[in-house]
Subunit: 469 residues, 2 copies
Amino acid sequence: MVSDPEGAIDRPDAAEQDLLEPARGLEEAVLDALDAENNERVRTLLAPLHDADLADLLQRLSPEERGTLIPVIRPDLHPEVLAELDDAVLDDIVDLLGIENIAAAVTELDSDDAVDLIEELDADEQRVVLDAMPAEDRTLVEEALAYPEDSAGRLMQRELVKVPPFWTVGETIDYLRHIADMDEDLLPDVFYDIFVVDPKHHPVGTLPLSRLLKSKRPVRVEGIMETAMTLIPATTDQEEVAFLFRQRDLVSAPVVDADGRLVGAITIDDVVDVIEEEHEEDMMLMGGIREDDLYSAAIDTTRSRFSWLLINLGTAVLASIVIGLFDATIEQMVALAILMPIVASMGGNAGTQTMTVAVRALATKELAPVNAMRLIGKELLVGGFNGILFAGITGAVAWLWFGNLAIGLVIGLAMIVNMVVAGLAGTTIPLALERARIDPAVASSVFLTTVTDVVGFFAFLGLAAWLLL
Amino acid sequence: MVSDPEGAIDRPDAAEQDLLEPARGLEEAVLDALDAENNERVRTLLAPLHDADLADLLQRLSPEERGTLIPVIRPDLHPEVLAELDDAVLDDIVDLLGIENIAAAVTELDSDDAVDLIEELDADEQRVVLDAMPAEDRTLVEEALAYPEDSAGRLMQRELVKVPPFWTVGETIDYLRHIADMDEDLLPDVFYDIFVVDPKHHPVGTLPLSRLLKSKRPVRVEGIMETAMTLIPATTDQEEVAFLFRQRDLVSAPVVDADGRLVGAITIDDVVDVIEEEHEEDMMLMGGIREDDLYSAAIDTTRSRFSWLLINLGTAVLASIVIGLFDATIEQMVALAILMPIVASMGGNAGTQTMTVAVRALATKELAPVNAMRLIGKELLVGGFNGILFAGITGAVAWLWFGNLAIGLVIGLAMIVNMVVAGLAGTTIPLALERARIDPAVASSVFLTTVTDVVGFFAFLGLAAWLLL
């Protein structure tokens, strides 16, 4: 919004009150105002909020609370707020707002945000929204939706500024002012680079606005444009796009179709969202969840988590079978049953440490065939060192606890074996999955704990059966 | 680099060969050329690489390989490459290059990158570099270093463009061209916003370059500037800065000192690095590592991982003590020893799923006091549902395995108890840590597994002792 500077200072900007929790205390106030049916106060409270902060607030409320709030703020609800919402909450709000209002909102968004929002709707809702859109906007969105999900084509913005290389700085600036005059909507709300294209619309360079502004009017664009570009094919997966933006410190990049023609531009703000998504995905997968289910109903959450737990039950039963092999041994020396979880659990944790580093390094491409062997070798060493250290500690504990030196030696030996195996499994399992084109974050931990449990119980109980009886 | 478009097309741009792995196969070629002492070929191979890609390549090489490569490429090694390196590898390269060369390199960087680099050096190296720098650059860097580590003050760039609100678009553009003429270095290499300040240098608005370019020369800056700014105090922690940039889709933001004066600007490219750092930190902490030790020597890695494993040993011993309480029971029925790890392990996994969602939601501020109770309630339900499901499955397995219905009932009951407890612990532990101002990612998992192990073994063995004997 554009207004006079004074406006800004008086204006209660959440960021000035508390940078980190713009909405602290606000929820309570809003809910109170809602109970008091003081709609005016509700609007005044929410007016200063940034769209994203309002979206967050809506997400933190319960469905019932949202049900009462939405009708109150509907008139002045920015479409951008919808673009910021989590799927589960968006569905909820779409029902509250009515699909027509959504359609109206979507047309106000830049093409990339519009696509973002429409992606989240189910098929029939999408139809309604698309049909309600003005023809040209619809074409832009439908073209974007034609690209695979999570591809650069979905991410890119169709509105962009392109100029021929032979134009001068002056011509370029006049052109921008001219379009802005004719129809603002032909330009992106905000942009950082101008794209230089040849007559076939192939990008030949990019021109950062700051460089344009540093140059005199008569200077030719081709003389000052950046020619070392990163061209992104529209079908590129968004994860690759994010990697490139990080790696090259890009702020915007040209997207090209199969024939190398410029079809759109991806800007950093969308990429930051992708980085967040990928981050969240990694965390969830390593935590044993398919996707963040914070806003899903209990029953859906139960269903989606069940499968992972079932796999884990399988590995746990496997470990029990291994223990079962030694029931006679345990019967003769119950101390073994008491101590056996220690070896397995230490192996699991050491393995997880190693696996975390490996999975991360694979994701950042820091781990490649050329240095894989070196990492494995190092982790074997680390496993060996820590194995010896904890063999000493645990052995001493067991010895003192049961007044039996032999049992201390057995648990010590088992500890060394399992820690070395953990180092080996923690590196080789992610590497193997990566080679098999499976996301290492998904399955690594279940394979790892299977290995460290089985080896842990087998080594300890096996050595015991062999040396103690 | 600025050159003619043709240059770009012929130029072997790694990104065009393979977006995701610019360096694939290249390492081998480089190493071969090094063995053949064909330095010319080494340089030709590395010339087209982006600075960040070269940095990655250096990191993937072994210390010995780096030792031979660096002297070969030293002459044409961009300072930006150093700014991209991991600490451990940087130390290594600083020794190879000699501190004087580092000093020379630093002066070529923008102030924020220079600070980035100098931060990584140890105290005496810092002195050498700072003394070797031209007075004014040194002041900029020293002022930045005066701010706390990981603060906005460290992150910000000192070079920025500020104009008074009463200037016109025309005056602003002429001013930029003028400075660019006089001394490029007074302007940042690239910038996206112009900052509008009052006579006391307090920011009153920001002006996105695209908006400047859309407006006619006579238009006044104050008429088109963005007054809804996010002012970032220089002492703000970088994690908060990253949160704000994400939340508000910022590309650059003004940094102010204690008196509200504009002292610098933070740009998105630095924030993306912060987001990555924070992401890595979360992953590592949840994996039980203090920091990414991919490039650390085996012995340092062993040391840094030891403490976490020691804590884990404590919790494992605790679990064993619980088992020890029931040694008589186990002696009478060894089947219990065989089955007992299942209950504990299922609880641990269910708890980890819940904890992952909670830790993530706390990090993104999606979980706040207002909705904490709702989440806890939901997770108790989920724990109950899955508990019942797995009680059935596991009970049946145990019953068939040992032909003993009672043991099936006992493990089923224990399973329900532990899954519900896991749901409770998985939410309340992170919430409690957050309230205690401890990063939930650090300690959550160790507390969680302690709870699920202790409760798992106690519930199963306790119920067995009570119902079976």
